[in-house]
Amino acid sequence: MTTAVVLPDAARPERREWLVFLRRLIARRTALFGLIVVAVVVLTAVAAPLLSPFDPIEQDLGDLRLKAPGFRAGDGRIHPLGTDHLGRDLLARVIYGARPALLVGFAAVAISGLIGMAAGLISGYFGGRMDDVLMRLADIQLAFPFILLAIAVIGVLGPSLQTIIIVIGVSSWVVYARIVRGAVLTLREREFVQAALALGGGDGRVLLRHILPNVFTPWLVVATLDMARVIVIESALSFLGLGVQPPTPTWGGMLADGRVYISTAWWLATFPGLAILITVLGINLFGDGLRDTLDPRLKV
């Protein structure tokens, strides 16, 4: 007697699932709006030299200092957002400021996401002593007022792009680890994982082939929302003078300049801040939409 075993179709309808997901995401107007905002910011950062009307670093200490938005210079060129205290075009600087923000955002999220994924998988899957140690490390990490620890470490090491990325990346893994660990704990008891183990699958294989694909969704949602946080932290560090150093334009650095000239030149502090707000809002809207589409019960 033979029992017909129905094997899953080799050509799984993965593509269609993906399309359905995309359609559902787009159906949420706020998520779509967020996605468009993020896409525009990314394009702006990539195409900065093409988009920017002026050089962001070129100074003009003559008669171009602290001009209001819409100022028309002697050569007839208009400065749409005005100029700063060193006569640099503000629009150009806002456009170029997207570069360090996104670079730090993507790189730091990649680092903390990978560390957190690994820690969460190990902690949730193996449990026991390993789990205790990792979760205690997470508690220690969380006990620090993040920004204070970051400025202390960057103060010692000296600010640079790499330092900022590494400091933020290494110290932000806890959220990922916790969410992945939680997912793994329930997955470990599921039939398909038990079956894979019973069929002789090794720990590594079960973790990578069966568990990893299933924890990817919550991980992605955390990564998206964390990106918003990292961009705010990057600009906070630049604001304190511990970010990417001048003359590279950063939104936080521009805000710090704007604070000095707050009573005479309102535009200096206003526009870079708006750039941060729009970027972060876009990412948050997209992240919220992603979560609601993928898994509305997710507590992130």
Binding site: R136, L137, D139, A143, F144, G155, L157, V232, L240
Partner: protein
Amino acid sequence: MNTFLLRRLLQSLVVLFGVSFVVFAILFLTGDPALVLLPPDASAEDVRRFREVMGFNDPFLVQYGRFLKGALQGDFGQSVRHGEPAFGLVVERLPATFELAGAALMLALCLAIPAGIVSAVRRNSPVDYVATVVALFGQSLPTFWLGIMLILVFSVQFHWLPSSGRGTLQHLILPAVTLGLFTTARITRLTRSGMLEVLNQDYIRTARAKGVNDPPVVWKHALKNAAIPIVTIVGIELGTLLGGSVITETIFAWPGVGRLSVQAIANRDYPVVQAAVFLLATTFVVVNLLVDVVYTYLDPRIRLR
């Protein structure tokens, strides 16, 4: 004694132990604490003598032991800048930081919990819509930009409120709003989702079916259960507030621990930095322990774990 709390107490001690190690290790990031503490133009002879005096030639763990012993007695060394004990300098500034963080937290709770409850009870009403949008913006506004914009409007433009310093209630308003907005947004969203979840539970439906009127259902049954995640987040948010005070205090020249540490880092005054990080982290750990105590009262199931 209650095992859950005993275990949490032990865990907190382990965490503080870890914190002390990290705080100590900050000086060793570049490999040589003497170079971190001394000005860059110190001569080789100075560096050598300094190492000798400070005991930097001892093994790492011996130095850590010495640091831990000092830290337990409130001795983090002398401030390089002020020539006073670093611990005293930080403790002196703690009340200002607690005042600011406390005001921000109170503001957040007073605004967020009613907003979250109304949002959940009157779901999809205009009130819900407005609260959700405001909360979304609140979560996306960078603290420091909000602070600068508030100064621009209320201090520079209208001269209503002072832009810096501490003393009167007027001084507290702008910094507290700046620091509290993010937390307000977070707690609003959390209260709303927590209440929505509870309002859909069977026992709420039972209470309603039995003819209990709407307001008592919300207050007696739902809020008590929705309070658990809110209490948790208050503990976590206090960390955000203590950390966020670094930025807010810098903007408003608020004489607290945050501003002190930013100045200390600029002056390479690391004993002060170490004392500040350690004390703020300790505060956070203690508050979270207290949160867990409150927790066991709100949710008796936890005691049994």
